[in-house]
């Protein structure tokens, strides 16, 4: 008689005694906190040089990092169960605000991204969506069997496409891309069958020419410029030529802080925001860039460890998505500045000047730490 198979529980995360450390008591992960502060300080140093001799931007950035850190510590104290239950409602609120932006948004430089509440600060609902969407999807799959069934994949795609479609016409291609990619990352981590993944890639490849005609003129130009910056050296090609020149002229060890001629003679565009890694590369050289990339790698590695150690689907998917989305930021920004991808407005995380992206990033790491430090002790 054949013997019945007996399923045994794997001991991953279960039946495994953890000691409760000081970090768990204050709900912080010191590796994450240390790396965030290291990268931010490094970024402040580069910013300090990029805006030299005007220091007001540095001071303002320090204040923003301070506020964002407080938000992070606060969010880490809240139980992940709360986030899991809040997620659908947060998503609906974010969609509502995006729709409102469509009608009541403030126009800045030709795009409508900001919502201003009279008597209150303005903010970008699309930034909220960067967090709300992964949370909503993680929450959605939390209550379902994995790997996901076809209809669950369909609904998850719908949940992804709605906010993406609302951000594209603002127009804000960079943020739309991040939002879309974060949705896809959740699906991939949830275990969507590979045949769907490759099928979707095939469809995307075939439909690419159609998408081309949907892009706006300036978006088309940016893609053309990527392949041949010299076609318009004074217009769209200017930024790419100048940033590659800044990076390349930095050499192994750079020209030294404040000594970057590209950045300080105003050749480099957006040197404090999207293109700040070109300043870093010019002034601190290849070694300075490698140092930053290695710190990014450690941070993302820690994020994946936290995701793997999470105890439920929500925690796993959310922590994983936060980590991989963070990577998309890093990769797209650096690839764009070094001339590998078209110029889309994505800042370099933790380094670029600007308040909203810093706040979103610190908040997401706060939630990640909440997931990690609220694990139940299994015996």
């Amino acid at each position: 008689m054949p013997q019945d198979f007996v399923r045994r529980l794997s001991d991953t995360g279960y039946g495994f005694e953890r000691t409760v450390g000081i970090g768990d008591k204050v709900h912080l992960d010191f590796t994450i906190v240390l790396l965030l502060l290291l990268i931010s300080s490094y970024g402040l140093l580069v910013l300090y040089s990029a805006v030299h001799p005007n220091q007001s931007a540095v001071i303002s950035q320090i204040v923003k990092i301070g506020i964002a850190s407080l938000a992070m510590v606060f969010l880490a104290q809240i139980s992940p169960i709360f986030y899991q239950r809040l997620a659908p409602w947060l998503f609906i609120l974010a969609v509502f605000l995006l729709v409102m932006t469509f009608f009541f948004g403030t126009e800045v430089n030709g795009s409508r991204r900001w919502l201003r509440i009279p008597g209150f600060l303005g903010f970008q609902p699309s930034e909220l969506m960067k967090l709300a969407l992964p949370m909503a999807l993680a929450s959605y799959f939390h209550n379902r069997h994995l790997p996901p069934k076809k209809r669950h994949i369909f609904w998850a795609l719908m949940i992804t496409i709605i906010p993406t479609a609302l951000v594209v016409p603002q127009p804000d291609l960079g943020t739309a891309l991040i939002i879309f990619v974060s949705g896809v990352v959740v699906l991939l981590l949830a275990g969507v069958a590979w045949k769907f993944v490759f099928g979707a890639l095939g469809v995307a490849f075939i439909s690419a020419p159609a998408v081309w005609f949907l892009l706006r003129d300036y978006q088309q130009r940016r893609i053309l410029t990527l392949f041949d910056p010299e076609r318009d050296p004074l217009g769209d090609g200017w930024n790419i030529i100048q940033s590659k020149t800044a990076i390349g002229s930095g050499g192994l060890s750079g020209k030294g802080l404040f000594e970057g001629t590209q950045s300080h003679l105003n050749f480099l565009p957006e040197s404090q925001t999207d293109f700040i890694i070109a300043v870093l590369a010019e002034e601190m050289g290849f070694l300075g860039v490698v140092f930053l990339l290695i710190m990014y790698l450690f941070l993302m590695g820690r994020g994946i460890v936290i995701a793997i150690q999470a105890q439920d689907t929500f925690g796993r998917l959310l922590a994983g998505t936060i980590t991989f989305t963070f990577f998309v930021y890093v990769f797209v920004n650096i690839a764009m500045v070094s001339g590998l991808l078209p110029v889309v407005g994505i800042p370099l995380p933790l380094v670029s000047y600007g308040g909203t992206s810093i706040l979103t990033l610190f908040a997401s790491f706060g939630i990640m730490m909440s997931i990690h430090t609220h694990r139940r002790i299994m015996l």
């Binding site: 991953t12 800044a246 990076i247 050499g251 192994l252 001629t261 290849f286 995701a307 990577f327």
Partner: protein, 634 residues
């Protein structure tokens, strides 16, 4: 069967996630390695290429200002040229403490508050990094030496050599040629930024202003490579500027000197015109000023001194001074009388020394009523009325002509308008008419107004340029040549609206010119029969000159009051006029002289006119007096 129980397979799900996370992390590491590779490629492998590119980025475009066209007099003497001048500039990026540097410069060479203010304004207007900002434009050789000695304590301070406008004749031709001045903020708004990049001056008055676009030239530029500190390392290529056109004026600098000397220290003005061309040979307005003061930047004290002086040296009396014509108008009224048939050459009146309008009590006196015992000039025809300057004759003639015909004929001679081709600053004077009086005074025309016009008084105002033009027209027997400064170097638009005076037959010109000749040449007659100017200039003259004197009132003399020169203060005395041309048979020069508060025209203004005519008529060959200026600075 009921609903399947949802039982989550925790172990399986975490296994799936683990796999996916590991795959994802491998992709992540692969892409990060790709970025490492990209930066290695750009920063290590292609470093040299991009380092060169970054260097080339520091290429700057600099404007090369054109050299302003030179201005010559008719014989090739330099009137305006360009000389090197030293500017002091600061490159603000190289000066860590600009206030300190500025105060050190102030200690060394002394800067006016005005210069310091202007410097701060210029910093704000600066166009590119490392652009030198001028501090002062008049660095003497001595100041230059002081700066050079202290160079180490003056970071970013440079001395820059430039060409600036220079008027070698100083004040002599200031009113004739005008001058360039520094471009101020108002000019900067109006002027083309590109055309004037690198140029600090613009023609502000006179010929320099009118021919600005011709004299300026065209700006050039050069591309230079600067190092990281903005210091020019080498010149890459350049487009040379185009030199401005040189202009030759009709002005005769030697004649101008003689004319200016003839006026000596008196306030007054002289305009001399060449009748064949209308070219202005001399244009004197005294006192004058040194235009070079304005080129280098005049200090406040000197400027307000010039501005507030009672002698108004900045005022161009020749073009903008408006005076009563006085008796110089008489030959023109004579022409009007003859052409209209109001009088004939032989008609005479009996002059009792005064004139009275019918039904009026007021007496219009003759100028000599107090001198001769009986008063009046006795029996007076047109010629005598001109050479003796008889008022009563012209009171009668004016009343008979009436204001409308007077206006019509004086208009033919260019009064009441600016007929000069390239002197837009010249004023129009005032040729009164019935309509004018109604519009401007709200009054009707009174017969007394016409009587006053008869001797060039009342409302009528003329400029010395207009009087010289009238003298030119008589010399030319009605052939119009509009007055002009430019002789060659550029195309001058002739004014097509000006028509020759062809209503005057030759015998009338003969009659009038003969009368004007007698003003100077009729002498050795009994008392009261000589030309008014004969005693002063006519006795030893070797060529034939036609002239007419006049006096213009400054203070109006009331009815019954006596005019006593000694009682009136100097500035209330009459202005002395004299218009003339010579030689009569082939006029080479016509002029108008006005000596402010000089008194009698024949006594004071006529000798000035003769000195000028003597020089011009007797001069055989025009001589270059200052040949050293032949080439000037280019």
């Amino acid at each position: 069967m009921g609903e399947p129980l949802v039982l989550k397979d925790h172990s399986g799900e975490s296994q799936i996630f683990f796999e996916r996370a590991i795959i994802g992390f491998l992709v992540l590491i692969a892409l990060m390695l790709f970025l490492f590779g990209r930066f290695f490629y750009l920063q290590i492998i292609q470093h040299d290429m991009y380092a060169t590119l970054a260097d080339q980025n520091r290429i700057q475009v600099e404007a090369i200002p054109p050299v302003r066209g030179l201005i010559y007099d008719r014989h090739g003497e330099i009137i305006a040229h360009n000389i090197p001048s030293l500017n002091l500039t600061i490159i603000t990026e190289l000066s860590p403490n600009i206030e300190l540097t500025l105060s050190k410069i102030d200690e060394l060479i002394g800067l006016s508050a005005e210069e310091q203010r202007a410097f701060k304004r210029r910093i704000e207007r600066r166009q590119r990094p490392y652009e030198p900002v001028p501090v002062t434009f008049r660095l003497s050789a001595e100041d230059h030496a002081r700066i050079v000695v202290n160079k180490n304590s003056l970071p970013g301070v440079q001395v820059e050599a430039r060409l600036i406008r220079h008027y070698p004749q100083g004040s002599l031709l200031a009113h004739a040629v005008g001058s360039v001045r520094r471009i101020n903020e108002n000019d900067a708004k109006r002027l083309d930024r590109v055309a004037y990049s690198g140029t600090n001056h613009v023609g502000k008055i006179g010929v320099e202003k009118h021919y600005e676009s011709v004299l300026l030239g065209k700006v050039g530029h050069k591309r230079v490579e600067t190092n990281a500190r903005g210091v020019i390392m080498k010149e890459l290529d350049s487009v040379n500027p185009e030199v401005g056109k040189d202009l030759t004026l009709h002005v005769d600098a030697a004649l101008q000197r003689v004319s200016s000397a003839a006026l000596a220290e008196r306030r007054g003005t002289i305009v001399a015109i060449e009748p064949s061309t209308g070219g202005i040979l001399a244009l004197v307005s005294k006192p004058s000023y040194d235009p070079n003061l304005f080129v280098k930047g005049i200090d406040h004290e000197t400027y307000s001194g010039l501005l507030e002086s009672v002698d108004i040296p900045l005022f161009n009396r020749a073009l903008q001074g408006q005076y009563e014509p006085g008796s110089t108008i008489k030959p023109l009224l004579g022409i009007a009388g003859l052409v209209t048939g109001t009088i004939s050459p032989d008609d005479v009146i009996s002059d009792p020394g005064w004139f009275r309008l019918p039904n009026e009590d007021r007496l219009y006196r003759d100028w000599n009523w107090r001198l001769s015992g009986t008063g009046g000039h006795g029996e007076v025809g047109l010629q005598k009325a001109i050479y003796r300057s008889c008022n009563v004759y012209f009171y009668n003639l004016a009343v008979k002509l009436g204001i409308n015909r007077i206006h019509q004929y004086l208009d033919l001679f260019g009064f009441g308008k600016n007929t000069a081709l390239d002197l837009p600053e010249a004023r129009s004077g005032l040729l009164p008419s019935i309509e004018w009086k109604k519009e401007n005074r709200g009054l009707g025309w009174f017969p007394g107004d016409t009587v006053n016009i008869g001797i060039g008084q009342g409302d009528m105002l003329v400029t010395p340029l207009q009087m010289a033009t009238a003298a030119t027209l008589i010399a030319n027997r009605g052939k119009w040549v509009a007055p002009r400064m430019l002789k060659s170097g550029h195309v001058l638009d002739e004014d097509g609206s000006i028509k020759d005076i062809d209503v005057v037959p030759d015998y009338i010109w003969d009659e009038i010119i003969s009368a004007m000749e007698k003003v100077v040449h009729r002498g050795d007659q009994e008392l009261g029969e000589n030309g008014t100017a004969w005693a002063y200039i006519g006795q030893d003259i070797t060529y034939r000159m036609a002239g007419k004197s006049g006096t213009a009132q400054v203070v109006s003399i009331k009815q019954g009051e006596e005019y006593d020169e000694n009682e009136l203060s100097e500035r209330q005395r009459k202005h002395a006029w004299f218009i003339a041309f010579a030689p009569i048979e082939d006029p080479k020069i016509a002029l108008a002289v006005l000596v402010e508060n000089g008194g009698g025209g024949s006594k004071v203004a006529a000798p000035v006119a003769r000195e000028i005519l003597d020089y011009y008529v007797k001069r055989k060959n025009p001589v270059m007096t200052q040949a050293s200026y032949a080439s000037g600075f280019r």
